[in-house]
């Protein structure tokens, strides 16, 4: 199978990686030791592997790595600025929205894409916005609380 060198931009950093056509974006992230993005189902049903590609919420397990080259990829590791958490991350921590934490990276990335498009959502809209992300621990209540709190914080303090 053909191997080729492809360029990726992940969390603002350029990477040059040898890829084969059958690598998924999830496989690529793992090769680069970016273990924050999780895989729970591998078939696009759980949302745990959600990353942003050119700002669009994208399932890394269902995306070919090679199809994502030359695009801006944002993973959970790219949200915080050093020790400064993104408002969504802070809100998840403060609201008690994190239990086992396995769904958290995908949940936060999806929430970011959602708030980027809809900065003043209702509770119902937040639930709809997270409809593609499964969680087994929290029952979603505090996750929705956290997204609403983050929306409020981002309106006050700006959307980083």
């Amino acid at each position: 199978m053909k191997k080729e060198i492809a360029n990726f931009k992940i969390n603002g950093r350029p990477y040059e990686v040898i890829v084969t056509s059958n690598m998924t974006l999830y496989d690529l992230l793992r090769e680069l030791h970016l273990t924050g993005t999780k895989r729970s189902c591998g078939v696009g049903q759980c949302g745990s592997c959600t990353v942003l590609v050119d700002g669009n919420p994208t399932l890394a397990c269902s995306t070919l790595a090679i199809a994502a080259r030359d695009k801006e990829i944002l993973t959970i590791e790219g949200l915080a600025k050093g020790a400064q958490l993104h408002p969504l991350q802070q809100a998840f921590v403060d609201a008690g929205a994190i239990q086992c934490g396995f769904c958290t990276p995908g949940m936060i990335m999806m929430a970011k894409a959602f708030l980027d498009e809809n900065p003043k959502p209702t509770r119902k809209e937040v639930s709809e916005g997270l409809g593609g992300n499964l969680c087994r621990c929290t029952g979603y209540v505090k996750i929705v609380d956290a997204v609403l709190a983050a929306a409020g914080a981002m309106i006050k303090g700006g959307n980083p």
Partner: protein
């Protein structure tokens, strides 16, 4: 995933040539949300993936007073969801897309891709049956249009010939007096439909001029319940007509029992959903 050859054509012509060359062993990559998981599970024998994401001019939603509204092969489900004109004039397409809970699937996935998977459970496809959609098909020999009713020839089989791809969908403009409704039943909100029903009627001067009743997940392909439609045409849509049409529609189903539901339940629910959809469509037509 097994290894495969990968191409990023820059024109539709290039894409169709590749598809023609590789035939059954080729797959189009648009959104990938159906294809990639299936390839990971080893479900398809894919030797070649043709990524059409880089072909310009395939991502659009264009209303046209004469021809109807068209959208392209790379038009994302989310764009359809956000389109005001689709919400207003082709409401059941909006509803079918909106009730898909995975925002990721709607951001990545395309309506055309959804149609081409050819599962009889596609909510989007059933709504397009009721909307009288036509598919724009391009192959190595040129272009043609296919009414959606002809598109599905059998379970997971489309009428596409070797080298052909769907480049867009045309939705005829709704006539005055149009009413429509989309309903489905699911186990959880994030699920493939157990059964779905999409209805569009045109009522003028109290008489039903046109009726399209699409039913999905109740036969090997989505189908139009022709007998039920015939009961409505040239009639005043009364509760009795609705009842009889719903019964006829249920009779036309050939459902199976699978993980999502039973044949018996699907048949019963075809009746219930067609009845409710006709009631709702009538209310809209008269409103």
């Amino acid at each position: 995933m097994d290894p495969f050859e990968y191409f990023e054509p820059r024109t539709v012509e290039e894409a169709t040539r590749l598809l023609f060359h590789f035939g059954k062993r080729a797959r189009i990559l648009a959104g990938g949300i159906d294809l990639i998981p299936r390839m990971q599970k080893g479900d398809t024998e894919v030797e070649c993936v043709v990524n059409i994401q880089k072909i310009p001019g395939l991502e659009y939603i264009e209303p046209n007073e004469r021809e109807g509204l068209t959208f392209g092969a790379m038009t994302k489900l989310h764009s359809i969801e956000l389109s005001r004109i689709i919400q207003n004039r082709h409401a059941i397409l909006y509803e079918a897309v909106h009730q898909i809970t995975s925002v990721q699937a709607k951001s990545m996935g395309t309506a055309v891709g959804n149609l081409c998977v050819a599962t009889p459970a596609s909510d989007v496809a059933t709504s397009l049956f009721a909307l009288g959609a036509r598919l724009k098909v391009t192959g190595v020999d040129g272009e043609r249009e296919e009414p959606i009713e002809k598109f599905y020839v059998d379970y997971r089989q489309t009428s596409l010939k070797q080298g052909e791809m769907v480049t867009g969908i045309v939705l005829p403009n709704p006539l005055p007096g149009t009413g429509m409704a989309f309903l489905n039943l699911l186990r959880t909100h994030a699920d493939i439909a157990k059964i779905n029903v999409a209805v569009a009627i045109v009522v003028q001067n109290g008489i039903c001029r046109e009726a399209r009743i699409g039913i999905g997940a109740a036969a090997p392909t989505i189908f139009r319940a022709a007998k039920a439609e015939a009961l409505c045409i040239s009639q005043r849509i009364t509760p009795e007509i609705i009842r009889r049409a719903a019964e006829a529609a249920a009779d036309e189903t050939r459902p199976i029992t699978d993980l999502r539901s039973t044949a018996d339940y699907r048949k019963e629910m075809a009746r219930v959903l067609v009845k409710r959809a006709l009631e709702k469509a009538l209310e809209m037509a008269q409103g």
